[in-house]
Symmetry: C2
Subunit: 120 residues, 2 copies
């Protein structure tokens, strides 16, 4: 991991990433579009999908329903190029800043959060 | 629920909200600042905390560690006034657009995602 991270200009220990998987094997990863700052989706990462994301610079998640790793956009072409990854204060959630190709949502919507449930 | 929602100008069935709790009792709720579009935090909601959020117009979550409902900012004064709530495409995640008073993070940081782990 350290080598991978060094390649990308930030050096920190693999333990710093492992800290995010202390409470469980899966953590939520919020995906936000860099330009519009729109929240596009939330998916789950395990340690391996995070490592593959760091290695490739594109998002990899873990599908709870299919119980497998998936590279977002691998079939649709709607890849997410990762610009930055932030961890939260208690190290159990990730925020990924990405450049989204096409639609983030499988429905064809740009964002998965298109269903307005309530407004003030 | 229907009366509460009607008061807030949107009418939809309680079943529409119940759909979000089919997979489990807790769902992640992403909190985004309306003005800056900054992602402030992620917390978990159960059906009751969502109902209290709708009733009060301020965020209520469920603390997994303390195993209790909590009204964000009740002690710090750093309340989150909810402007809009969106559901995602597969009805298992919420996005809340809020007006944040003070800092969202217990550390005093405006956002909980202040820990940059990686950048391209």
């Amino acid at each position: 991991m350290s080598e991978i991270l060094a390649q990308n200009g930030i050096v920190f220990s693999s333990a710093a990433l492992d800290a995010f998987f202390q409470k469980g094997e899966l953590i939520p990863a919020v995906v936000q579009e860099a330009g519009s700052k729109e929240v596009l989706m939330l998916a789950y990462m395990n340690r391996v999908s995070l490592q593959k994301t760091l290695e490739t610079g594109y998002t990899w998640f873990y599908s709870r329903s299919r119980r497998t790793l998936w590279n977002k956009g691998a079939t649709s072409g709607h890849l997410q190029k990762v610009l930055r990854i932030y961890g939260d204060c208690d190290s159990d959630t990730l925020l990924l800043e990405v450049e989204q190709t096409g639609a983030a949502c499988h429905t064809g919507s740009h964002t998965c959060f298109f269903n307005e449930l309530w407004k003030r």
